[in-house]
């Protein structure tokens, strides 16, 4: 089918491209322009020369890569084990665990690492107990250093692997494994030769996301005093404006983050391109019942894992209700004053969060659903680039996008003579761009489940392409789209990396509020606001889960 020759569709197509050009391509080119010029605007390679001859920057680069690889390794081990248990075996509380597994993902930036520090820091619960009970004179350093960052990222991100693998595992045709078994391949061999290759595409895309997330996170390392990582350097250099040279190096590092993101996507390209979605039919999986010992082991493992991954939530809740909590295992004095204090501004934060995230989701749907349709149902020119661009957005660090926006849209717009950076609409815009890939992928995979013949039938009786889309396709896929939309909403409402650079007074969303309280030194208030955000997100996630079951995993692919 060719792109329908209806003017409306043509205009829509053009508008989508215009949107992508203005809000994705243009800002990115702008930071590359900055990276390749000096203060006078003349072309130069000095910035890159400085980066690649500076020991500290090079060490940051190596550290970032090493941390990314290490996190992928740890999340994979945990994520695979959990996914395998949940899909293949039947044991008590399996459904509960399926839901709980996703919860660590809804840990807003900053809140997670703060929670860990409250429990595992040098004066955290664990160390205080060790010192009080076992007479340790120096605390054990769990948090301050790379090991702390690795711990936080692992406990936060392993569900991403679980979800991607869960999704892929559920789609593996059991007959293939049965066939292998019939040929004598058992246990590990069957897993290695059949199951693993079939789940690889799902896994690789999950791993890519884990890698890039870790690569781009600057908040976690900063809280535990790690500054020799690329994203941390980008942030720290940008937020100090006085020294223009350091400032420019921040932009250069952001540009490098984008370059690396592109490289990673290219490396993983054959797995993560949207086209390679092979089968989307979920197979009926026969779950094996576990024996009593194995059952206890499975429940024990998952229970322990959940307990561990809820450390941050526990820490944050305690910090939010504890007063003057220091050097005791638990707060001595309890209070609700921090909730009271944040409640003055919280309504504004909540309203802003819902408004901006909501608008972002609407934008995502308006642009993303037609994009998915163009990719899945038409042979319009440029589909390939659209797909590539979507994948790329998924990979670009939020930090880099935020910086790109502030550099690109700091000039007065025509007609109204106000720069876009002075209009709050820039927040929903940047959020929409960040979440667009989720919507496109969610809609695309739902679209693949709709048999082409239904649309063809409509067209045979005279419906135009657009009409078919509206009357046949959308009603059939709305659920998938809605889940995609809600998922975009949950992740938008937690977003901080891109918005931190763009927020002005009065536009603060909850994560920015948490960040402001934190940098103002009011960790208890930050924690209180964090508890509120977690509650909001958990409720939304619960809704998504009810609607979609475990199929949410498909969105990560």
């Amino acid at each position: 089918m060719r792109l329908p020759r209806v003017p409306a569709a043509g205009i829509g197509f053009a508008l989508i491209w215009a949107f992508l050009a203005v809000f994705v391509l243009f800002p990115l080119t702008r930071i590359f322009y900055d990276a390749f010029t000096d203060e006078a605007g003349l072309f130069t390679l000095v910035n890159f020369q400085e980066f690649f001859t500076d020991r500290f920057y090079l060490r940051s680069l190596l550290n970032s890569l090493a941390l990314g690889v290490a996190t992928v390794f740890t999340t994979s081990v945990i994520g695979f084990a959990v996914a395998f248990l949940l899909v293949r075996y039947e044991f008590p509380y399996r459904n509960l665990f399926t839901y709980l597994t996703m919860l660590p993902l809804i840990l807003p930036p900053l809140v997670g690492v703060l929670g860990f520090v409250f429990i595992l820091g040098r004066a955290g619960t664990v160390n205080v107990l060790l010192m009080d009970w076992f007479g340790l004179s120096q605390p054990v350093n769990f948090m301050y250093g790379m090991q702390g960052v690795l711990l936080v990222e692992t406990m936060h991100l392993f569900p991403m692997i679980t979800l991607s693998v869960l999704d892929a595992l559920a789609k593996v045709d059991p007959s293939l494994e049965e066939a292998a078994q019939g040929m004598g391949a058992k246990g590990w061999r069957r897993f290695r030769d059949i199951t693993l290759p079939l789940t690889t595409p799902g896994y690789v895309s999950g791993a890519l996301l884990v890698f890039i997330w870790t690569f781009a996170d600057f908040i976690t390392p900063l809280v535990v005093g790690v500054q020799d990582l690329l994203a941390a350097q980008a942030y720290l250099n940008i937020v100090q404006f006085v020294d223009r040279r350091i400032f420019r190096m921040g932009i250069v590092i952001s540009a490098l983050l984008v370059v690396f993101a592109i490289v990673f996507v290219l490396v993983a390209r054959q797995y993560v391109a949207i086209k390679d979605y092979s089968s989307l039919s979920y197979s009926r999986v026969e779950r094996r019942r576990l024996g009593p010992a194995a059952r206890r082991l499975a429940v024990g493992f998952l229970g322990l894992l959940m307990l561990f991954s809820f450390i941050p939530q526990a820490g944050v809740v305690l910090a939010a209700i504890g007063r003057g909590w220091a050097l005791t295992p638990f707060p001595v004095e309890y209070t609700l004053e921090f909730f009271e204090q944040v409640s003055i501004e919280t309504p504004k934060f909540i309203v802003n969060s819902f408004l901006f995230s909501g608008l972002a989701v609407v934008l995502c749907l308006v642009i993303g659903v037609p994009m998915a349709w163009i990719m899945g149902r038409t042979r319009a020119p440029g589909r390939g680039s659209m797909d590539a661009l979507t994948t790329l957005i998924l990979a670009i660090p939020g930090t880099a996008i935020g910086i790109a926006y502030i550099r690109a849209f700091n000039y007065p717009l025509p007609f109204i003579d106000i720069p876009l950076t002075s209009l709050w609409i820039i927040l929903p815009l940047v959020l929409a761009v960040r979440r667009l890939p989720y919507t496109v992928r969610g809609s695309y995979s739902s679209l693949l489940l709709v048999h082409r013949s239904m649309e063809e039938a409509a067209q045979n009786v005279g419906a135009t392409g657009l009409r078919t889309f509206r009357d046949i396709t959308v009603p059939l896929v709305w659920k998938g789209i809605l889940v995609g939309g809600l998922f975009s909403f949950i992740t938008s409402i937690q977003e901080a990396s891109a918005t931190i650079f763009l927020t002005l007074g009065g536009w603060e969303m909850i994560p920015f509020g948490i960040f402001t309280f934190y940098i103002a030194g009011s960790q208890s208030q930050a924690a209180a606001l964090g508890v509120i955000l977690i509650a909001v997100c958990a409720l939304s996630l619960f809704a998504v889960n009810r609607m979609a079951g475990t199929k949410v995993g498909g969105l990560f692919g």
Binding site: Q138, V223, S422, I519
Partner: protein, 374 residues
């Protein structure tokens, strides 16, 4: 929501070229600060100002503070290019204010002569600290020392006496237990690095700072994090901490102590109205309020000192003001004592980038080696 209506207002204004009905009011009903001063000081002063405006002019002022570290705030003001998103810049080094005035990004202050005259031109010897701009672009608001903090319980466990001066932080028993913020990230840290460099001279000063780095357990991302981590007992002592930030942690119930060594730099926390501010009258009114007795009182209850000899930190026994006096070592006003200042802001500003890059190469990039060496 305010933004939507503001945006609509701007658009309508552009279309109709209509007059502004708010012009009839004595002050505008909105005020935005951009400031490195922490929320815990800005929030109460803004709240009290709003109360004051309601009483005096019956105007309900909607206030907001854009929190940003000194360099960020400065950078944003420069990037705004005279079309600021805020009305007032409060806090930081006076040299930065001079730089902004040079770029014509500040509006001249319009304060009653008596208010300006109540503030001495400078304080301290041998290097006087300017408290107001002779050309009238900025004026000091409070006096606030950058000192050191410690947690008594953690120190006791380590068997270390409470520190009195900067040099006490080099105690080998404190290894891995000192918190500081990099001078590239924090203006209070930068100023205190300069204090050490100007006290000891370059060679000995950097050697001292390298030793401090060897004792350091965390380079916090911001100066505000330094007292936080010490208050929670994560680290034993902190370097270059503004007094009121530490006092906030004390007010929050933490057992944290503050000491201002003799050579501690004292900032006057300058304030200025931005050129092109949308609410210039509210901005001027806020500054005048801040310098009045009522404004100074609010600040004095948060752990900073009055900018004029007219007032002293004082309150009923057990009051917050008295708590602050006890916290800062019994001092009620910097005009009661001889202020010993060796920090020369002129020198500091001239070599600002140089000190930063020296820090990066001689300390930050070899931190692990320093820890092993000393």
């Amino acid at each position: 929501m305010i933004r939507i209506s503001k945006l609509l207002g701007v658009m309508l204004g552009a279309l109709l070229v209509a007059g502004n009905p708010a012009a009839a009011q004595p002050i505008e009903d909105e005020l935005v600060l951009v400031t490195p001063v922490a929320k815990t000081l800005t929030d109460p002063t803004l709240a009290e100002f709003a109360k004051f405006a309601r009483e005096k002019w019956n105007v309900t002022v909607k206030t907001a503070a854009l929190a940003a570290g000194t360099p960020v705030a400065y950078g944003r003001i420069v990037e705004w290019k005279g079309r600021p998103e805020a009305d007032i810049f409060w806090g930081g080094e006076s040299a930065l204010f001079d730089k902004l005035a040079e770029q014509k990004l500040l509006a001249r202050l319009d304060l009653p002569k008596s208010v300006v005259d109540a503030i001495p031109a400078s304080i301290g010897k041998p290097k006087p600290i300017p408290l107001k701009d002779p050309r009238g672009f900025w004026i000091g608001t409070v006096l606030e020392p950058y000192g050191l903090v410690y947690h008594p319980k953690v120190l006791a466990r380590l068997g270390v006496q409470p520190p009195r001066d900067w040099d006490d932080l080099l105690d080998p028993k404190l290894k891995g237990n000192v918190a500081q913020s990099a001078p590239t990230r924090s203006s209070s840290s930068h100023a205190t690095y300069e204090v050490i460099l100007q006290r000891d001279g370059d060679a000995k000063g950097w050697e001292w700072l390298r030793r401090l780095a060897a004792n350091t357990g965390i380079f916090a991302a911001r100066s505000r994090d330094v007292p936080s981590v010490v208050a929670r007992g994560e680290f034993a002592a902190g370097f270059a901490v503004p007094s009121y930030m530490a006092f906030e942690d004390r007010l929050a119930g933490f057992d944290i102590k503050f000491v201002a060594p003799k050579t501690a730099w004292i900032t006057p926390e300058p304030i200025a109205v931005l050129a092109g501010a949308k609410h210039p009258r509210a901005a001027q009114a806020f500054i005048e309020f801040l310098l009045s007795e009522r404004g100074q009182k609010v600040a004095m209850e948060r752990g900073v000192f009055p900018i004029t000899p007219k007032y002293r930190v004082q309150g009923a026994p057990g009051s917050r003001a008295e708590m602050a006096v006890e916290f800062t070592g019994g001092l009620r006003s910097y005009f009661d004592i001889e202020v010993n200042n060796i920090y020369d802001d002129g020198i500091a500003q001239k070599r600002y980038a140089e000190v930063n890059s020296q820090f990066r190469s001689a300390i930050e990039s070899v931190w692990e080696e320093l820890k092993k060496k000393y």
